[in-house]
């Protein structure tokens, strides 16, 4: 039984951010990012889906123990992102615009180091009900 199975874990974090490129003028930022450039920040309930794909371990019947995955996301992502200001509180966004694209890539990089290399990893991040990104594409 050499089949791959994908396992998903859904989580949520609530965070503030603003989109701003410090190398551009206020007017250019306003034109480029519109209301997302609002100086005092705005925020979202981010819905995070972590997809782990691999072969089922015959010993456990698991691709990955979802409790272990849950704890990993909790400790490395939610502790860091939940109820934070992405621009001000996270060193990762000191010089990086916290768009959904960049947030997904940062989350991927953090989790990739912690999840066995034999397992594939994909991040799906909803910024709103209508807007979401996937990485790697």
């Amino acid at each position: 039984m050499n089949k791959k199975v994908a396992v998903f874990r859904k989580e949520r974090f609530n965070a503030a951010h603003r989109l701003n490129n410090p190398n551009l003028s206020d007017m250019e930022n306003q034109m480029l990012f519109g209301k997302c450039n609002s100086p005092n920040f705005h925020g979202h309930n981010y819905d995070l889906t972590v997809k782990v794909t691999g072969y089922v371990d015959p010993k456990t019947g698991y691709v990955i123990d979802t409790k272990i995955l849950s704890n990993l996301i909790d400790e490395t992502i939610l502790e860091k992102f939940d109820h934070r200001n992405l621009n001000l509180d996270l060193v990762e966004f000191k010089d990086l615009n916290p768009t959904a694209e960049n947030i997904a890539m940062i989350i991927y990089n953090i989790l990739r180091e912690k999840i066995n290399a034999s397992l594939e990893l994909k991040i799906i991040l909803n910024e709103t009900e209508k807007n979401y990104v996937e990485y790697p594409a």
Binding site: N14, A15, N40, G43, N45, N85, T128
Partner: protein
């Protein structure tokens, strides 16, 4: 009597912080919601009005007009804003979901036609937390 409901959404930053308390007390009461640099939500707002159907139009109220009231007096003022810093009708108030629902009620009420009553302001802060206000 008939009810008409409109759904809106907005995205905003806020923090829960009582300026009359020490930082320690704020963290004790509000936990991570007191984070100094704010956090944020996708809010879902559900507004219900009630009254009788107008025989000439078949409407309780033109839903487009209700939409325009919510847009002008609520959503444009709070969408992509900081509830503590940017929103005039929240100045001096704790930016809790409860207080925001009460304030939204007051924002809408004066703009409804005389024959339409405001029934409920329901506000979701997250998909699992919402408040309802019926005006009393």
């Amino acid at each position: 009597m008939i009810f008409l409901t409109r759904h809106e959404h907005f995205n905003a930053a806020h923090k829960l912080y009582n300026p009359g308390w020490s930082e320690e007390k704020n963290i004790e009461v509000f936990g991570k919601c007191a984070n100094a640099n704010w956090h944020g939500h996708n809010y879902n707002l559900i507004v219900t009005i009630k009254g009788e159907v107008n025989e000439d139009t078949g409407f309780l109220m033109d839903a487009k007009k209700l939409s325009a009231i919510l847009s002008e007096h609520v959503c444009e003022k709070i969408d992509h804003k900081n509830l503590n810093l940017d929103v005039d009708f929240m100045f001096g108030k704790l930016a809790s979901t409860e207080n925001l629902a009460l304030a939204i009620w007051e924002q809408i009420l004066p703009h409804l036609p005389y024959n339409v009553k405001l029934h409920c302001v329901k506000l979701y802060e997250t998909p699992s937390i919402c408040v309802e206000y019926f005006g009393n």
